[in-house]
């Protein structure tokens, strides 16, 4: 008998309520018309530890493309980064990395 032919065990799992542990999450910072480019670069450098060049590259992504991924990892960790960005007054969101 093939185990795959007994799907009953699956039915008890609500797939909308669980998080696929293999799918990472992103913290995304969005463009806004208020924050200075120098400030966004400073935050990326001081908080995430990016080099000046890398911080500037991501700041320009935010500025030109409207958003940039600043971190990838577990959902909990990405929420912590988003909260830290809100502390700095940057608008950050959390989403699945493949969305």
């Amino acid at each position: 008998m093939n185990a795959l032919s007994t799907p009953e065990t699956i039915e008890s799992l609500d797939i909308h309520e669980i998080t696929d542990p293999l799918t990472p999450w992103n913290t995304i910072v969005w463009n806004d018309p208020v924050n200075l480019m120098s400030y966004v670069t400073y935050v990326f450098q001081s908080y995430f530890g990016f080099t000046e060049g890398e911080a500037e590259r991501r700041m320009l992504l935010v500025h030109n493309e409207g958003r940039a991924v600043v971190a990838t990892g577990s959902r909990e960790e990405m929420e912590r980064h988003a909260e830290a960005m809100h502390d700095f007054g940057l608008w950050a969101t959390v989403s699945k990395a493949n969305e």
Binding site: N31, D32, P33, V34, N35, L36, S38, Y39, Y42, E79, A82, E83, H86, D87, F88, G89, W91, A92, T93, V94, S95
Partner: protein
């Protein structure tokens, strides 16, 4: 204003004219007031300024957003209030006199964040929503606010430059 600079001990110093110091105190008090009004069960805010200070972490998922807010909004608001108090402390309460401020790293971080919050609030009041917006300027009030918005940006830029500078040997 005399711009921020790092002194030999690494601290950040600047000097504000009496009316500039008074303006910063008033804007910091406004920030505290807006954030204190947010206390209680924070579900969703009508005030666009508050919405920008405590933004949605999951714009496409109201449930996850509410959950995130439940766990973070109070702490976030509390830290922001503390930052604005740090700015008022740094300036002192003496109205009508020129103020020299001396900030250590921790105070400088608080100033940096609260200057941002002040600008976010002014921008929300001015209706600045996308790059290039200059905001409402039709009334005396909005014109004054728009000048304040630009000036606080200047103060912040000066602080960022000083923070990026190496301590003088």
């Amino acid at each position: 204003m005399k711009k921020f600079r790092r002194d030999a001990s690494g601290r950040l110093t600047a000097r504000f004219e009496a009316r500039e110091a008074e303006l910063l105190r008033r804007l910091a008090r406004d920030t505290t007031q807006i954030l204190t009004a947010s206390r209680g069960p924070i579900i969703e805010h009508e005030d666009p300024a508050l919405k920008r200070l405590l933004p949605d972490a999951y714009p496409d998922d109201p449930e996850a957003s509410a959950e995130f807010r439940r766990f973070t909004a109070d702490g976030l608001a509390e830290r922001k209030v503390r930052n604005s108090k740090s700015l008022i402390d740094g300036l002192g309460e003496n109205a009508g006199v020129r103020v020299s401020v001396v900030l250590d790293d921790q105070a400088a971080q608080a100033w940096l964040r609260t200057l941002t919050d002040i600008r976010l609030i002014l921008a929300a009041r001015l209706g600045i929503e996308r790059d290039g917006d200059v905001g409402f300027r039709g009334t005396a009030d909005s014109f004054r606010r728009s000048i304040e918005y630009q000036w606080v940006g200047y103060v912040q830029e000066s602080l960022i430059r000083a923070l990026n500078a190496q301590p003088k040997q």
